[in-house]
Amino acid sequence: MIKHVAFASVAASLLFATSSYAANTLDTVKERNTLLCGVTSGVPGFSVPDDKGNWKGLDVDVCRAVAAAVLGDNTKVKYIPLTAKERFTALASGEIDMLSRVTTWTLSRDSQLGINFAGVNYYDGQGFMVKKDLGLKSVKELDGATICVQSGTTTELNMADYFRSHGLEHTPVVFDTNEQAAASFDSGRCDAFTTDLSQAYGLRTRMKDPSSVVALPEVISKEPLGPVVRQGDDQWFNIVKWSLNAMLNAEELGISSANVDQMKSSENPNVQRLLGGSEGLAKGLGVSEDWGYQIVKQVGNYGEAFDRNVGKDSPLNIDRGINRLWNQGGLQYAPPIR
């Protein structure tokens, strides 16, 4: 019996030994010389393969930024497409180093799944799309409207709550999928159409005349989407967190992939610190001194990534809205790099 216990404890310690080794994600990534990044199997603007099979999107750019910071090369990423159900297991089992897959930051996920959210790269939320020629300015004007919505989702419940709490009447017209709801709205079945805004903009591009459809300013639910790492590896958590923060700070400081080389000689100490002009900051993070420079040079700042993937330079043409920087009226606020 004692023998068995001894054997079991040796086996257990071996097991823990291997997992504590694997817990140092930074070393594992450096040794492998590749970052394993979990993405979606195709969400427009966030992670989707293009004509050449290269992954593109706002979430993908976070993976690229981390690879640029850690390995100095944004192409050293292996993208692992995951379904919604698999994503946390894949992270927990070490199949991926980080997850960047339109994942909403909630208390239960943060506290119960053994994961940490390393920031928010897109503030999503439920919004309403209407035809431009109705001339509506606010959801409050939708009293008595018929609204197309996907059935059995929180979207439907959020809408009911919002309308009730504001004393408004509405007639929901429910559909099995978002695509059907959008198509019915397009054909004039409803006055408005509601879903998470990031999806609503994607669906808008399929409509007959996308430019005739606009989003109302109210966002009635909070869906902060961000990159996720395993709990228990604070160094790696910091690296992912600050890779995203570096992109945000770069935009705030006016550094883009186009001017980063000129900015390198800037006298501004904030710029200096981001681009590696001051000693010691990167050491604490465990990356090379020029990590910030590499991120901005290879991936660009947050604004560039936004415009390129989901914003005004992409077919989705999502309004920057609450994803503007804090000093431009948005929510994107990164702690300073100093």
């Binding site: 199997s41 603007g45 099979g53 497409p81 089992s93 591009t205």
Partner: protein, 366 residues
């Protein structure tokens, strides 16, 4: 008196050619004529928009969605993405390896299924024993200076074919062994076979795939990673072999007891009896069932999209989510359906041909 036959007259006009065929098959009698006209009306009503959408007012040439100006289908989406639909994310410079592997496979299969080609036995042995290794080296690389290509880059039709072919080729022998095991007189072998078959047949394939992709990694140590494709392949094979076992068992039960007894009375051992007497007859009876299972398996491979593997269907869905191509999923689904149909129909026709060729006048069929 001399018998002088009259020259043969030509058939009356209206009984020959298209008109004759139509009179005979479509308009023989008032009721059938009305039925033909009504049905033709409905077919035209319903089919015309489809034909118009798919062919007449479709856009065929171009490179971007802006080239799709008409109301019809936008086949530009398919042609632009064709490489991805076929090869997934396989590096473009290396796709010749996939081509070579599948051309080799097609040639070997053609050799085996075309009657009267020489050395069939050797070719069969090569196909089953050596070719899998050649194909594996070609596809995944890493040897002989071939660049190593990770399985997560495999995708599209080639991944579908890998899943289906491996599933089909591996499930048949396992299935035969399990069926023999289930009919064995040895209690342990029999009960193990029964347990295996009933467990695997009792769970949906989707559960098996989920287990393989979500549960299994949790049981391994953290730094040990089983390839996801391999896990899916093993899951599919184990699942299909249980189904195959029941098809084979059905065939074995159809062989009359006299055959078994005749083989026994000749003094043949168990494996001799099975190999020379029972299985050749039983497998022939099982062809429809086996091919049915194969076709079901081929279509079931698209379930791997729920574990994040990009088979033909999944890669089409991902492509249709590209912001540049959003809204063309109908074309994609039509294309995928057509590809699946071609393969399944091919298998079905071959099985009919095989049944006819192997039909030796025995059995209940006339």
């Amino acid at each position: 008196m001399k018998y002088d036959p009259q020259p043969t007259l030509p058939a009356p006009p209206g009984t020959l050619g298209v008109v004759g065929w139509m009179r005979k098959h479509l308009f023989n009698g008032p009721f059938n004529s009305i039925a033909t006209v009504v049905l033709a009306y409905f077919i035209i009503i319903f089919m015309w928009p489809v034909i118009d959408w798919a062919i007449l007012s479709a856009d065929w040439i171009g490179t971007t969605r802006n080239d799709c100006t008409s109301d019809g289908a936008c086949w530009v989406f398919i042609s632009q993405r064709l490489n991805q639909f076929l090869y997934g994310f396989y590096p473009e410079a290396e796709t010749w390896r996939l081509d070579l592997a599948f051309i080799m496979m097609a040639a070997l299969i053609a050799w085996l299924i075309i009657p009267k080609t020489p050395f069939k036995g050797w070719v069969a042995a090569f196909t089953l024993l050596i070719f899998p290794f050649i194909a594996f080296v070609l596809l995944s690389g890493g040897y002989f200076g071939l660049e190593s290509v990770d399985t997560h880059k495999w995708g599209g039709l080639s991944l579908t074919l890998v899943l289906a072919v491996v599933g089909i080729v591996a499930a048949l022998p396992f299935g035969i062994l399990l069926a023999l095991g289930r009919r064995s007189h040895m209690p342990i072998v029999r009960s193990l076979s029964v347990v295996y078959i009933e467990i695997w047949r009792g769970v949906p394939l989707i559960t098996v795939l989920f287990m393989a992709s979500v549960m299994l990694p949790l049981f391994f140590p953290e730094d040990m990673n089983f390839d996801k494709l391999l896990r899916a392949l093993i899951g599919i094979t184990m699942f299909q072999s249980a189904y195959m076992a029941e098809v084979v068992r059905g065939g074995l039960q159809a062989i009359s007891k006299g055959q078994y007894e005749a083989a026994d009375s000749l003094g043949l051992g168990y494996w001799q009896k099975m190999n020379m007497i029972i299985l050749p007859q039983a497998l022939k009876l099982m062809i429809p069932g086996i091919v049915n299972t194969f076709i079901a398996l081929f279509k079931d491979t698209s379930l791997v999209l729920i574990i994040g593997l990009f088979d033909l269907l999944a890669i089409m869905q991902a492509s249709a989510n590209d912001p540049n191509w959003i809204g063309f999923s109908t074309e994609g689904y039509v294309f995928v359906a057509l590809v699946f149909w071609v393969f399944c129909f091919g298998m079905s026709r071959y099985s009919i041909h095989l049944e006819k060729r192997l039909h030796t006048g025995h059995g209940n069929r006339a």
